[in-house]
Structure formats: structure tokens, C-alpha cells
């Protein structure tokens, strides 16, 4: 089964260009859904929606702060999915959260809640391959694409197994560490992209530590595109609103399209 997310990313890749997936914290500010629409209009191929969790161990200070603010403002899985349901975004959405929010009410229920809200995919960074099956089966049944992460620390024999189980795309973790903007692209970013590209035909996007158009272009020399998180969320925290985030995403889009067309 190839879902809406993978289809959108494959289409972009087949056109000779690169995929761009910005991450937006759900429930951060009253206008977050407007920001999602603005990012889509600015050329995003899909939008990652962060569903805030109390203990986000893969996230650095920027996304932690956004999480805390959204939770303090009363964001819940229900409120975020309620806003997404019926929101005409124009590109597929992927919810990124942590396993306990999916586990708490039951994997099947969570997966069907995502599907009901029109969400295409889901990323749970604290379930590794060994533990993924009960969730991934529930997601498959609901038609939700489970995107798996592949880390630079993985041995070679692990990567094909991750790629095989991943749906939508394969998320290459750009560095050994947590989310956040770094001054330079880590050497590991292109390395993981190359290792993944050599074992899969699925779209390979690299995120974590990709924080500028220059870094996005650099890693996309090897990958099929990028996920950008903290740089986007920082713009939201700074009050950039739909216009500010739209401009930011347009800047990444134009840098990628200038180099790859």
C-alpha cells in the first residue's frame, strides 16, 4: 500500500526536485492552523504536526519550550485533531508525538482517530524497530503511514529492516543527538542519507540538525529532501505568525528548487 504521504513525496522526487517537510507544533498559539496552511502554500510537500507530550526526550530546548507553551494553553490530542479535521491544508499531514499518547487509549483507537482527522502519517520517535509491530499493525489497518527513524548509530544490517517497515518516507536522523538548530550540518547527515538511499527506493528525508536553506541544499545532494523543525518552531515562538513561517518555508523551497530542478 502506498498512501497519500508517500505518493506526494514520490511525485515531488519524480519531478526531479526535493521534498520539504516543515514541523509545526500543534496548539502553539491560536493561529497554528493558519501557520500550517501558510507553510503548505509556501511549497511544503507535507506538514509534520507536533502533538505536544509532557516528556519529549528526542527534542531540544526550542521544541520543548513550544511543547510546554502549547500544553499550558490547553492543547490535547483531541483539540489538535479536532482542528485538523476539516482544515483544508492541501498537502498530507504527519503527526509526530511520543508513544504514550498513542498507547494510553489503545493503539487502534489512536490510529483511527488520526485517520478520522485526515492525518496521513505518524512518527513516534521513542518506539524503535523491535517494539514497533503492535503500533504499526494498528496504523496499517487504519491506513495511517508509520514513518520510522533511522539513526547514524544503526549498524548496516539494521537499515534495510527499518526501510522495509517504514511507510510514507524514511526519516534519516541527521546527527547523534536531539532536535535543534546547529551552526553547521553534521557530517553524519549526508552519510545516513547515502546509507539509506543505497538500500531503499522509498523517499529518504533527513531531519534533526537541518536548520538553514544552505544546510537543506547540502544534505539534499544525497537525500530526497529534508524535515525542518526547530527553525520553524523558533519562528513561531518569536511571533512570526503565518506570514513569518510562510516566508521561512518559501526561503527553503526556493533554495532547494534553485539547486535541484
Amino acid at each position: 500500500m502506498i498512501g497519500a504521504l508517500e505518493t506526494a513525496l514520490r511525485n515531488r522526487r519524480d519531478s526531479g526536485r526535493k521534498c520539504l517537510v516543515p514541523y509545526i507544533t500543534g496548539g502553539l498559539g491560536d493561529d497554528w492552523i493558519e501557520i500550517v496552511r501558510a507553510a503548505a502554500a509556501a511549497g511544503a510537500d507535507a506538514i509534520e504536526i507536533g502533538m505536544p507530550f509532557s516528556d519529549p526526550v528526542m527534542d531540544g530546548p526550542t521544541i520543548q519550550l513550544a511543547n510546554d507553551q502549547a500544553l499550558a494553553a490547553g492543547a490535547t490530542p483531541q483539540s489538535i485533531l479536532g482542528t485538523l479535521r476539516g482544515a483544508d491544508i492541501g498537502v498530507p499531514t504527519v503527526v509526530m508525538t511520543y508513544v504514550n499518547l498513542a498507547f494510553h487509549g489503545g493503539y487502534r483507537r489512536f490510529a483511527s482517530n488520526l485517520a478520522d482527522a485526515g492525518v496521513s502519517g505518524c512518527i513516534l520517535p521513542d518506539i524503535p524497530l523491535e517494539e514497533i509491530e503492535p503500533w504499526a499493525e494498528a496504523a496499517d489497518e487504519a491506513g495511517v503511514e508509520t514513518v520510522l527513524l533511522a539513526a547514524p548509530t544503526a549498524p548496516d544490517d539494521r537499515l534495510p529492516r527499518i526501510c522495509q517497515r517504514s511507510r510514507g518516507f524514511v526519516y534519516g536522523v541527521g546527527l547523534v543527538g536531539i532536535t535543534g538548530v546547529r551552526a553547521d550540518l553534521a557530517d553524519s547527515a549526508k552519510v545516513i542519507a547515502g546509507r539509506l538511499k543505497s538500500v531503499t527506493d522509498k523517499p529518504v528525508l533527513v531531519g534533526v540538525g537541518v536548520g538553514s536553506p544552505k544546510q537543506a541544499v547540502e544534505v539534499s545532494e544525497v537525500s530526497d529532501g529534508v524535515v525542518i523543525g526547530s527553525v520553524v518552531v523558533q519562528r513561531m515562538l518569536d511571533g512570526g505568525g503565518p506570514e513569518g513561517v510562510g516566508d521561512l518555508v518559501a526561503g527553503f523551497r526556493s533554495a532547494l528548487d534553485t539547486r535541484f530542478s
Binding site: V57, D68, P77, E131
Partner: protein, 384 residues
Amino acid sequence: MMNGPDEDGRFGEFGGTFVPETLVPACQELEGAFREAWADPEFRNDLDGLLADYAGRPSPVTVCSNLSAQIGVNVLLKREDLNHTGSHKINNVLGQALLAKRMGKTHLVAETGAGQHGVATATAAALFDMECIVYMGEVDISRQELNVFRMKLLGTEVRSAQSGSRTLKDAVNEAMRHWVSVVDSTHYCLGSAMGPHPYPWMVREFHRVIGTEAREQCLKLLDGRLPDVVTACVGGGSNAIGIFSGFSDTATELVGVEPAGGAAVGRGVPGIVHGSLSYLMQDEWGQVLEAESISAGLDYPGVGPEHSYLASTGRASYVAVTDAEVVEAFQLLSRTEGIIPALESAHAIAWVIRAREELAGKTVLVNLSGRGDKDVAQMMDILR
């Protein structure tokens, strides 16, 4: 009984390895290294030597004649408070540091609540000449000033965890984030029988010495009998799992005592955080709740997975005591026996006092997991 986990790191339905992909190879490497070291007589011999000559084991079992007379229950204490660094934590830390060294790691990172595990880790780092960073919640740093200074004195860098509740839960988050970033050089010296596989198993094995010694000591003291009940406080549950492991194949009743404001087992709702599936305090959406306890070491919303398993099978039971009961117990043990317990350990005493009618005439072994020196300033404020 208590041999598990299975090869997936499960105790029944509980446990597992819920970590980011980045950490999977490190957990697998650690599991292999521990399995191999634990079967190696030389490693066991080195560790036994350290436990004896450095930590001061075996720790004695003390018969509490005065307290027993007062409450009508025969109370015995397993004196983990007499270990070097003042608590049971040193057992696990010496084991993990020795293992980390054997694995070629040069750095240790740890979380701490009350500071007991942080001090023990800092101590092992000094002994083994390793670099050490300890994360501690900002709230705990202010209520455990002495232990913060101790860690610094031992050459460890103490970093403040300023997110969320700024207590033990957040210190674990920060330690895991740190570990994700430096996993090649660094061993995460996790302080309780919790976290991803192999930690719950490995930490229990390093604390099994408590139960093994206590069983033998009780048989001698009680003319070949075992205690009717063994009890211990439970935050993550390392001291409890250590002493329980010596009695799990007997008829002795096992009772874990949680703080009322951090009763993960008591609430009985499973969840996944910090690497494993276990009972977890959480709201209606699955957001992890903040625990509230007088004792920083038990101020944790989760519990080690094997405790969830023991509770679900009924082999151990879990009860909760209030801060007020703990304050009473702290004072009573101090006055009757001349032993000032850690606030954590005072939870187990508090349950014995509360349950004295049903325990009348029975023999109860309490794991006195730590000494109360670190809590004296806090108690001075409370009692003033």
C-alpha cells in the same frame, strides 16, 4: 521467580526497550556486555571485592528491640544506610561503573533525585577516574544542597534540569537527551530498576546482594526461620527489587511502599515513558503527571517494570503512605533506635507503624535503604 526478563526485556507484559533509534545499539551493546560480565567469575570477583573493601558490605541486620516493644511488631532493619555514601545506591553504581570501564567508556552520566544516586555515581567516577555529569531537578538542587556540594567535591559536574516539574522525572529526561548526544563515549548510569532493557534486569542483579545477604542473616537471627514480611520503599524501586529478590521464592510476604503523591502502582494505569512499559501516573490523555512527595528520591511518577509485574501477579503488594506519616516515622525511628533514616526509607517504616495491628506479633524485615543525614535540614524546617 525473579529470573526474567525474557529475551525481549519483558516481565510479563511490562518492560521492553522504548528508546529512540539512536540508543538502540547502545542498549544492545550494554545487554551483551552485562550478560557476558555477569557470567565472568573475574568480573564478579572484582565487584565482590569492591563491595566488601570499598562499600563496606555485608551490611548488618539490626533487631529493633525498642521500636518492636512500642508497636508490637518485631522489626528488623537491613542496614543499607551503613554502606559507603549512605545508601544502597552504591551497589548498583559500582557494578555499572566497573562494567562501563570494561566496555571502554570514559564518561558517566546519571540522573538523581535526592542526590543519593548522584553522590554514589560521583564517587564511582572518582574511584575509576571517569568524567561524570549528573542531572538534578532545579527543585531538588535547592532541597538537597548538601548532596549537590558532595558531588562537586567528588569532581562531578552537576547540571540543573529546568524543564517540566524540575524534579527526578525531568532529570531523567535531561540525562537521556545527553546520552543520545554522546552515546559512543558515555555510559548512562541509570539509578533505579527502571528504564529500557537491560537496565531493570541489570540494576536488580546489582542489588540482589541485599536480598541474598538479608536472607542468610535472617535465617541466623530467627533460628532458621524467615521473616513474615519484607518491606521497602518504592520510587523507581531499586532497593525494593534488591531485597525482594532474596525472598521471592519463599512464603514471605513482599510489600512495596509508595508515597501517596507518587503511587504509580497504586493507580494501576500502564504507560510508556523513560524506556519501558510500566505503571505510570498520567492524565486522561497520557500526559505524564508530576509526582509530589516529601522525599526527592521517591518523587517520580513511574515505577520499574518488574514491580508492575509483581503487582499484577500478586506476588508483591503495594501500599501508599502520606508525607505526614513519613514525618512521624522518621522521628520515631530516630528516638527509639538512634537511627535517623532517609526520608525515602522512612516510608517503609511508616507503613509498618500504620499496619501494626495486622502485623502484631509478626516479624517484618524493613530495607533501610539510606541514612537521613541529607534530610536533616529539610526536617528542621518541617518540624520548626
